[in-house]
């Protein structure tokens, strides 16, 4: 299958640098624990835009959006289910405004937080929720969609199909944090099962994010690349947080993180960014390590 033209243009680079974490950046600007980060797209757009801009300035070729939770089911927990459209459109516009022509915007679509297999939601409900979100993001003009941080392959496939219906290129990224080798999803699916099924569902790029530190991503990249024959997207955590002098600190430094980039590229990674604990400094360090 031919690459989506947007991806073909991006992938003339050896590796595309994406962004780092948003949640911790918003916290640094005053977001509190119980607040819905996505709500800031409406209440504090300038702060959200400053995060987006920090990543563009650090060297991101693609940035995401502050819309991770902006599906009807996840928003219901914050009593915001009736604001799906507004939150997504605002989130898309903020990132698009921050990038100008300097970077592309791939909008973030996270999980519903409901368990399909336990009957907490249905396939129909998930499909409707992801379609609603994907349509709002597409209409706002984003360049791609990223279905990310998924723990259940069944839900991820529904989200990918919903995202694909917009005609935009779609990245599908799972969390592999279970099993002895931390190479399965919470639901027990293997890297290979995920890569193959997500490709079948129409994903243009397959990937992994969150879950674990960057060292474990070398094997994940190889396995994803082999199983799906699609470009691979990764966003590792900056390690697990440790408690030092009463504060939570992510122990991986930007330089350590970026030091893995050459090996990750050899292992097949075409899109590299960071998840929890990563900052614009991580992106800057990455940008310095990879060919321009």
């Amino acid at each position: 299958m031919a690459l989506h033209p947007t991806l073909a243009r991006l992938l003339t680079r050896r590796v595309v640098i994406t962004d780092g974490a948003w949640g911790t950046q918003l916290q640094a600007r005053g977001l509190s624990g119980g607040e819905c980060p996505d709500a800031w797209n409406l209440s504090r757009p300038a702060d959200v835009e400053s995060v987006a801009r920090a990543y563009v300035d650090a060297g991101s070729h693609v940035i995401l959006t502050n819309t991770f939770r902006s599906n009807r089911l996840a928003l219901a927990g914050y009593e915001l289910a009736n604001r799906v459209r507004e939150l997504n459109v605002a989130g898309a516009q903020i990132s698009l405004h921050a990038t100008g022509a300097k970077a592309l915007v791939f909008a973030s679509m996270g999980p519903s937080g409901k368990m399909l297999m336990m009957g907490e939601t249905t396939e129909e409900e998930l499909k409707a929720a992801f379609e609603e979100q994907a349509e709002a993001l597409a209409e706002a003009g984003v360049h791609g969609l990223v279905v990310e941080t998924m723990s259940d392959l069944a839900e991820a496939m529904i989200a990918v199909r919903a995202a694909k219906s917009t005609g935009l290129p779609v990245v599908a990224s799972m969390v592999f944090d279970s099993g002895k080798n931390k190479d399965r999803t919470m639901m027990g699916q293997t890297v290979e099962q995920c890569a193959v099924a997500l490709a079948d569902a129409g994903a243009d790029v397959v990937g992994a994010n969150c879950g674990r530190g960057i060292a474990g991503y070398l094997a994940l990249c190889q396995r994803l690349a082999q199983a799906a024959a699609l470009p691979v997207w990764i966003k590792p955590n900056a390690g697990l947080p440790e408690f030092v002098d009463g504060k939570l600190i992510y122990q991986t430094t930007p330089d350590e993180f970026a030091g893995f980039a050459p090996a990750l590229m050899d292992a097949g990674a075409r899109f590299i960014g960071g998840c929890c604990g990563s900052t614009p400094e991580f992106i800057r360090a990455l940008a310095a390590k990879v060919p321009a």
Binding site: G23, G33, G34, M118, R184, P241, F243, L248
Partner: protein, 214 residues
């Protein structure tokens, strides 16, 4: 006579319908409810835990087994209460204040119920005082705290402090878990135990109530 190995297997296979049917049949035939729990159901859940440890089972199988166990227990629990039998222990569980994530917490709650604990589930976004009040009211042995977000992890520490303020710290065990939580963090905040999975949380809870009884 009911073939009770069917109860064991139904739980192991996550077949709630059969588990409930066999339980009902056995109780109607006069089986001792406590024996059903200790000889068939808990061993089945132990086997589920073992299979989880060696990666034959994953979260879906745990959830299904726990649901089958729960179905049977709903029939058995009223009878146990009548006979004055005590649960293995009482656990007050919840996701800490500011955090809405409940998948992991629900899983641990189901597995604890499956292991014969009485579980008082306070849900998500639970303020420290609510843990204390519930633990006091229900005479809980254990408070189990969950957090998925690094920003809400410190709320675990606050909750432990609230238990201390209430003068209950010496009489109750506190266990913690959730994706960003580590053994080291658990020690730092003065929790009594940590597990990175639901099956391990059950073993931990068991060892804590055993120590307490000893």
């Amino acid at each position: 006579m009911t073939d009770l190995s069917k109860l064991h297997d139904a739980i192991l296979n996550g077949d709630a319908k059969t588990a409930v049917a066999v339980t009902k049949e056995a109780l109607d035939a006069g089986a001792n409810p406590m024996d059903l729990v200790t000889q068939y159901m808990i061993p089945a859940m132990d086997e589920v835990g073992r299979r989880f440890e060696c990666e034959e089972y994953f979260v879906p199988e745990l959830l299904l087994a726990a649901r089958a166990m729960k179905g049977s227990l709903e029939l058995i629990r009223p009878l146990l209460a009548e006979s004055g039998a005590e649960p293995v222990g009482r656990v007050v569980i919840g996701t800490v204040k500011g955090d809405l994530h409940d998948i992991g917490k629900n899983l641990v709650a189901s597995m604890l119920e499956g292991a014969g604990f009485e579980v008082i589930d306070l849900g998500a976004d639970v303020p420290p005082e609510k843990f204390v009040t519930a633990a006091k009211e229900k005479k809980a042995d254990i408070i189990a705290l969950s957090a998925l977000l690094t920003v809400t992890m410190p709320m675990m520490k606050n909750t432990i402090a609230e238990v201390e303020r209430a003068g209950m710290r010496d009489s109750i065990k506190i266990i913690v878990g959730g994706a960003p939580v580590t053994e080291q963090y658990a020690r730092e905040i003065g929790a009594d135990g940590y597990s990175d999975n639901a099956s391990g949380a059950v073993q931990l809870a068991r060892s804590l109530v055993t120590k307490k009884a000893a």
